[in-house]
Symmetry: C2
Subunit: 172 residues, 2 copies
DNA sequence: GCAATTTAGTTACAGATGAAACCAATTCCA
DNA sequence: TGGAATTGGTTTCATCTGTAACTAAATTGC
């Protein structure tokens, strides 16, 4: 799609100068928390994904499922959803791929036969054990410019925000 | 895809108990910064997207482009990429949709005819002016449990992390 | 000058995604 | 009981996404 040549622009559509919004500046994007978080998070998860994506043939949702199961032990798909804030379709597909690769197994839950219990296989656990330290190394590098006080502050503030987001917004 | 009935599980694939990973616990997911950021950010952007998605028929990348243009005035698509950390394909498509909806115009840059200068139309500016306060309200609600000191700390730490992510990881 | 390289942006394609529809097991409650 | 509503999970479909290949304009090196 070609840009419209200048000559065809109507006067009404003419560009606003860089100062035009200064009067009613509504939203200073670079100070807007959701925006900052989004950009930062994107950069970080892309960087971490590079660590495991090619090397282990793992997608982001797959790694998340493995990480949750590795950390907390077997649980239902629904529980994985809650822990990761991913929707159930995404989890379902990640689980299907992981099961096909024999990295986890699904067992029917005897007490509620709609549910299946997901558990890493030894293979899955081995991969989890291998990726964990790599991911931690990335985190360490990221946090390296922060002193102890900064880290504590970050931890506290994140906890507050997590709580706030949990109550303010109805969780999907 | 049905779960495999329990009886067909091999012993080797049996589930790990919740304690099995306690010995070699590699990664405490709930303390892992990239994970926490990702969950938090997902929740927030979903909440904000709800504000404008249906009401203005805007996707996330479209809103980002509008926000940058609204905030900083006309610029090239490339400049938008840098400001939003979105890749150029995404920006290109968002711009195409916005142009089709007459929310922005592209003019050929006379000084470099490969480039086009993007600028919000009056329509686009009106939408931007309407969404801004709504987005800010969501942010305010999110930040409400934080005191002044917490907000300052958050600001500082985010700046450090942004710098750290910028230098540690080669930007996409 | 002008071929070779670089840069701005679009398009094609293959895979990922979410909303909604769906199936099956469970719970609710008259 | 037994039908309606709920819940766990999968599938479908239309859309979104990123990689890579592409076009066109500008710059570089000679």
């Amino acid at each position: 799609m070609k840009p419209i040549p200048s000559a065809e622009l109507s006067a009404a559509d003419a560009a606003t100068g860089p100062t035009a919004q200064a009067a009613g500046a509504v939203l200073a994007l670079e100070r807007f928390l959701p925006y900052r978080l989004s950009v930062l998070t994107n950069r970080i998860s892309t960087a971490i994904a590079r660590v495991y994506a090619e090397r282990f043939d793992l997608t982001v949702p797959e790694w998340r499922v493995m990480a949750v199961l590795g950390r907390f032990g077997p649980m239902s798909a629904n529980a994985v959803c809650e822990r990761t804030a991913m929707d159930k379709v995404r989890v379902s597909r990640a689980v299907a791929r992981l099961a096909a690769a024999r990295r986890l197994v699904r067992r029917v839950d005897i007490r509620d036969r709609r549910r299946s219990v997901l558990a890493l296989t030894p293979t899955g656990r081995a991969i989890y054990a291998e990726i964990g330290p790599l991911a931690l190394a990335v985190e360490a590098r990221l946090l390296s410019p922060l002193g102890a006080a900064d880290r504590a502050a970050l931890d506290r503030v994140l906890a507050l925000l997590e709580a706030s987001a949990g109550t303010s917004f109805t969780k999907a």
